[in-house]
Structures are given as C-alpha cells and as structure tokens.
C-alpha cells in the first residue's frame, strides 16, 4: 500500500484491521486556543512543573529552558496555574 496517495484514501490503500496510519502529530490542535501562555524566562526557576502537567505535551525542555509548542497548545492555562513562581501569563490569542 502506497504512502504517497493524496487524502482521502480509497479502501484498497488503507492498512489492514482499520489500523491508523498517521500519528496525531500531524493534527495540530493549536488553533483551539483562545489564550496563549507566555513564559517570563527571567522569573522561571526551571522546576518543570509546567512540563509535567501540560496535557498536550506542548511544553518543551531543551536542557536549558522551557518553551511552548504552539502547534499543539490548547491554551488551558494549567501551566500558568501550576507555576510556583508565576512565570507564565495567559494572554488573549491575537485575532488579526
């Protein structure tokens, strides 16, 4: 079965047993967001609570600092709420 066919695929090109063939990484949930987390790196103590509790795996740790992957962040604000030093602010998503 070919992987190059455009969507939506015909039944002959689907894997056996109704197995999904794409990872949800291709499905960006960032556009669900109404609020955007903004991290104040100067306040951040790198405790990783935001990384730990983010339901979207959208907080990234590169070994030096945390950042937000806006491709997936749904803007729930758990990171900001759980930040012990209040280094994360939720701001309205720009609407232009």
């Amino acid at each position: 079965m070919s992987g190059s066919k455009p969507e939506p695929r015909g039944w002959r090109d689907l894997p056996l047993s109704a197995l999904p063939y794409k990872l949800s990484l291709e499905y960006k949930t960032g556009d669900w967001r109404a609020l955007r987390p903004v991290i104040d790196q100067s306040k951040c103590v790198k405790c990783l609570m935001c990384w730990l509790f983010c339901p979207e795996m959208a907080i990234l740790w590169d070994g030096k600092q945390v950042s937000v992957n806006l491709d997936y962040c749904k803007g729930c604000g758990i990171c900001a709420h759980e930040c012990p030093v209040k280094a994360i602010k939720m701001i309205p998503e720009p609407t232009e």
Partner: protein, 419 residues
C-alpha cells in the same frame, strides 16, 4: 455423509489415523488440541460445556501449551480472544445459544479487526422460554457479523472442520464459526478418524503467522499485532469519512473466503481422504431431480436417507446440504437448483415476520434464473423438536404434489408442530 476418496490414497492412510469413539464436543476439543492453540477463553453452557471441560483436562495434564482462561462470561470469552489474537496468538472459544447472544457485540469487533479467531457454536435454541436443545436461531443471529460460518453434519465433520477452520481463518483473515448441532452431534458418540498430531501441525504450518500490512508512520510493512517493536493502534474511532471504506475490506475478504474454504477443504481431503462435497455444498441425487431440498447441519443425514428411500420408489428427488452459510454460495447453489421444479428450503430457525434465514438466501440465489423453480420454506425442529424420517418424507410428498400442480399456495410451512 463422508466421502472417503477411492481414486487416490490419502497422504495419511486410514491405518495411520486414530479411530476414536467420541461425541461432537470431544471431537472439537481433540481437534483444537492438535491445532497448537495459544489461548482458549471459554465459559460453560449446555450443550457446549464438554468442549471446555475436555480442554481443561488437556491443560491440567500438561498436554497443551495453551493458556486457558476460564472467563466469567461469554462476552469476556470473545473479548479475551480478541485481545489474544491481536497480540498475535492463535485463539479459540466455544459457546451456544444465549452465550453466543452475549458475545454478539464482540463478534462484530473480532471480524472488523480481522482477527482469525475460531469459535465452535454448538447450536441451541435461544430463550425464552429457556431451552437447551438444538436449533439454529443462535447461529442465525450472528450471520451479519462478518464471520465465516460452516455447518457440520456429523461428528467426523465437526472434527475435520475445526482443523480446517484455523487455516481458513488465518488465510482469509476472518474469524470462523464451526457449527455443530446441540445434542444431535455434541452429545452423540461416533467413531471418527483423527489425524496424527504432527500432520495437523504441518497442515496449519505450525503456530499462527500474523499477516503483514503497511503502516505509513512506521514506513514499512509490519505484522498486524500488538508489538512493542512496532506500535500499532487497534480499534480506533472511525467516523463517516473512513468507516465505509473499512467495511469494504470485509466485503472483499468475504469474497475471497469462499475460494479459501474450498482450497483448504480440498487440501485437507488430500491429507485425510475425507471430503464434504466441494467444501461449500454437499449435493445428493440432484442431477435429474424435480424436487430438491436444501438443509443445514445434522438433519442433512436424515434427508439424504429419505431421498435414497424415495429414489428406490422411483421419485425424482434430491437434496443439497449447505455447508458454508457465510459467505453464502449463491452461484454454486443456483447451478445445482436451476433444473428443479420445486425447491424446499429447510430452516431450523425463523426470522419472525419473515421466513427462515436460509430461505431468504436460496430465494436470492434463484432470483436471476429465467425459469425459476417454485420455492417453499419448511421451518422445523425448533427447540430440538425431533425430525424423524417419516416427517421428512411427508415434506417431500407435499413438494412433489406442488410440482405436479405447478403452484405453491403456502410458502411458509411448519414441519412437526402441533396445531
């Protein structure tokens, strides 16, 4: 009827096969024992219970490597088989009647996930009122679930078919239900021939081999199983954008399945010397018959005996036993029935408000003929009601009368019920 091949010697001559006196349930248990089954998950229900009892003995005596799961319900029996088969194991379960009804939800899931599970259905009437005896209302309830359904006529065939079922299932990637009539077969002793263990092992090609499929995110063909080396997700949410396409997989698989059932039957016949028609239909005295009766299961033997008797008296009658019910052999059956004046369809089940389930199939098979035989449906034997030869003979006489008149007034008749 068992046809022992006279032309060519079977690969395993009869003297190398073991002659055993067993009932139908034991025959199935012995067959499963030889099939290198990894997981058996089953729950007791009359008249199937002997299968799980017998198999438990094999497990307790260390005669099999099988993990036996004595589940708390038939629903869990089929659910556990789905889990086991998805993990790559060869899985088996058995049930009857209400137990099969309780499995119903998972029957569809097993078939849709394309898991080659084998299920022995020891046919029994559905409640209410509760009844433990034979009819086909249980099996007919699962006819649309995507399972291959094969009906055995006798204990030998139940044994042979169970072995064939694993090979069919794993080739077709569809689950297979082997049907044997409750008590008439399940509890009736018969002398049967059993193949040596290694012959069955070889026939099946050893342990189950899992089919491969291409999955884009892995970028390769992988075995369709739960495998920590190649993570797959079984049983996703499928909405209107893909569900229909996935059902086409099953439609196509069923189309292929008919060929596979025949091939596996033929290969098994060469091995054992035993064949059942062409593996899907078992015709008898049909060539010049004016009246042909179709039948499923153990009643096939009684009908054939009556046909033989009536032929001796000069009546042009014949019968065809439908061995494969799903996928239904429409074309093959049409070829057999097309010359008859009247076709009688025996059903050991009824779809209330309609006809017997196999009548609808036979009707469909004949519709495209220019010259159609007259069709009559005989519903018989519900709840284990006996069908003695004189009753079958009475049916043939009625059908011969219909043939003479050229019209059928009452299409739905009940054989053996008290008014």
């Amino acid at each position: 009827m068992i046809f022992f091949s006279k032309k060519s010697k079977p690969k395993i001559p009869l003297e190398k096969q073991k002659l055993m006196t067993v009932n139908g349930d034991e025959a199935v248990a012995y067959a499963v024992k030889q099939c290198y089954v990894d997981v058996v998950a089953a729950y007791p229900i009359t008249p199937q219970t002997i299968i799980v009892e017998k198999y438990s003995e094999f497990v307790a005596d260390g005669e099999v490597h099988t993990e036996f799961i004595p589940v708390e319900s038939e629903h869990s029996a089929m659910s556990a088989c789905v889990g086991a088969a998805a993990a790559g194991a060869r899985a088996f379960t058995a049930t009857a009647a209400n137990g099969l009804a309780l499995m119903w939800e998972i029957l569809y899931i097993a078939a849709s996930l394309r898991l080659p599970i084998v299920l022995a259905v020891v046919n029994r009437a559905l409640s209410a009122p509760i009844n433990i005896h034979c009819d086909h209302s249980d099996a007919m309830g699962m006819r649309d679930s995507g399972w291959i359904q094969i009906f055995a006529e006798n204990v030998q065939e139940a044994y042979d078919t169970t072995i064939q079922a694993f090979k069919i299932a794993e080739k077709a990637l569809l689950p297979v239900a082997v049907n044997l009539d409750g008590f008439f077969l399940s509890h009736t002793l018969e002398n049967i021939y059993m193949l040596p263990d290694d012959a069955v092992y070889e026939f099946l090609g050893g342990p189950r081999k899992v089919a491969k499929t291409y999955v884009d995110y892995l970028g390769k063909e992988v075995e369709a199983k739960l495998d920590p080396a190649n993570p797959l997700s079984f049983g996703p949410l499928d909405l209107y954008d893909y569900y229909f396409e996935h059902k086409m997989h099953q439609v196509e698989a069923m189309k292929e399945a008919k060929k596979i059932v025949k091939e596996v039957h033929d290969e098994y016949a060469e091995l054992s010397g035993r064949s059942y028609g062409d593996g899907i239909l078992v015709p008898y005295e049909v060539e010049d018959a004016d009246v042909i009766v179709t039948v499923l299961g153990s009643t096939g033997g009684t009908v054939r005996w009556v046909v033989k008797k009536l032929r001796q008296k000069g009546y042009k009658v014949g019968t065809v036993r439908i061995r494969l019910f799903r996928p239904f052999p429409f074309e093959e059956l049409r070829e057999i029935l097309k010359g008859a004046k009247v076709v009688g369809v025996m059903d050991r089940a009824i779809s209330f408000g309609s006809f017997g389930p196999s009548f609808l199939e036979v009707n469909t098979a004949l519709y495209d003929l220019k010259e159609k035989p007259l069709l009559v449906n005989y519903v018989y034997g519900l709840g284990g009601r006996d069908v003695p030869p004189d009753l079958v003979e009475k049916m043939f006489m009625e059908l011969l009368e219909d043939a003479k008149k050229g019209v059928v007034e009452n299409k739905l008749r009940f054989l053996g019920v008290r008014e």
